[in-house]
Symmetry: C2
Amino acid sequence: MKNQTITVDNVYIKSTFSSVGTKESEGPLSEFFDAKYSDDLLGQDSWEKAESTLIKNTVSGALTAAKMTSNDVDLLFAGDLLNQCTASSLGLKAFDIPFFGLYGACSTFVESMMLASLAISGGFANTAIAATSSHFCSSQKQYRFPLEYGEVRTPTSQWTVTGSGCAVLTREKTKLKINKITVGKIVDLGITDANNMGAAMAPSAADTIYAHLGGAKKDHDDYDCIITGDLATVGTELLIELMAQKNIDIRRKHLDCGSLIFDRSRQNVDAGGSGCGCIASVFSGFFAKKLLNKEITKVLLIGTGALMSPSSVLLGEPIAGISHAIEIEAVN
Amino acid sequence: MKNQTITVDNVYIKSTFSSVGTKESEGPLSEFFDAKYSDDLLGQDSWEKAESTLIKNTVSGALTAAKMTSNDVDLLFAGDLLNQCTASSLGLKAFDIPFFGLYGACSTFVESMMLASLAISGGFANTAIAATSSHFCSSQKQYRFPLEYGEVRTPTSQWTVTGSGCAVLTREKTKLKINKITVGKIVDLGITDANNMGAAMAPSAADTIYAHLGGAKKDHDDYDCIITGDLATVGTELLIELMAQKNIDIRRKHLDCGSLIFDRSRQNVDAGGSGCGCIASVFSGFFAKKLLNKEITKVLLIGTGALMSPSSVLLGEPIAGISHAIEIEAVN
């Protein structure tokens, strides 16, 4: 098996910041988010501008929390789900920071943290930012139907999180250290149902977790939590089953941001949350605080992405998945 | 001025490969391309699948030229212009290489070379691939009008290149060395005409070249060529003017891939070529050979991207530009 895992040195998380919309503010993690918007348009006149404002405000929030300005940042890694990453380009241009645009579907937040980590560990940057966003309304408009059509959802469908998360990574020591990253491969098991992204992503999540545990030669018991991005209920069941086939029982350790962010019993989100902003806001808002408080000390964070576009779905092409993993530890 | 330039060590180009479609095969650089397709569908039943086949074959060609298989490659950096980078995800999944998806519009080829260089220089990979593609027909369908509509083009519009380029980068010494990279910022001067991408990209190209010359403390006379991606005639004029305002006359050194790839006098391409595949195929096919033959010894290669989507244009948002630069030298 090829080693997909890279050990990084001197990479720390200086600050994180999370922003969410109304539905997420009414969910179980409400108290942990740093900014909660009661107007999903954020005062803008389009969903795209709303999302670009969301990621912009989130990066500003993370910089403020780090007591930094954009002048202190060497590199910015970001992306989103909109066509041609519109939210990131529109929202982040004002920061005037050398910019790498990324696209890894909902794996993009961990992808951006991985590349920022490599840049710092390699000695190419002292400070680098990782940020992503998603917005329910801009995603519905682009991937499915305009809101006004009143789409009837299937039970396997997921609710795109209106949210954004940002992490400021530094060479300077802090209480949160990044140890290892595992770069995912594109995994395609032939899923073609665009309303079942959990099933499309689960095989890649299993592949990357297995590679990480093999590559890092770690037992999964080393981790307090193995956190996936947005597998939601359907994808989570499949992940548990796929890992069991490899004789690894992750049930006691596994948590999924898409399952945590909403209360399925009362929030009508079907299988759960999804989107670039799901793992970004839940990690930045919830897990980062749990790590800082030492309620947990070591986690494996896995961004899970479904590589599809409205065109690829119309063409009947299968939806491949990609998952990237990063190991984060609370240190002294 | 913030330093945007990073020096990299031990990064070499082991092989390059270029593939183009019919119109490019009839252009002035025809003899330099490694694969020329007489069927722009490449035997597929959609333009998207044609483009994914194009990038797949190009990466295969570069691996063969490097006498490698995908098992020898640690990391793959790639992207394209289609929504959600469909060509890269569909085309490259078969290689089973840990994958970073990128989006930097037409700057993506240099973006992918930069990140591959950082991964190797940082000691995180021995071999990394950089690849991008574009296709005239898939781009027309997505960004403008289906071919069947018979769009009337404006004189400032550019012709998306049907082409792909790939570079295999290694730690192992070869005759082509990568010395420095300059990471671009998003530059927005308020251009809103989607049929004038040259004007949208020229300010960012000027910004990045100036940063590189300042950051690398180099006179531009150090370079045999300063090569931009796809400014075409309109953007080139603006770049020359913007550089002149900074008291740098790059006229003797400047070449533009979008201007070189077509013969404007007979190929009806208006201002010239564009697309992720333009600089990718022209660098991989033409300039890499010129460097290997020592006809030129040091170049600055600048990927120029226009950060727009059909939605952002409809919203009336300005088209920002981003340009990334990489210094490549022929060594012993």
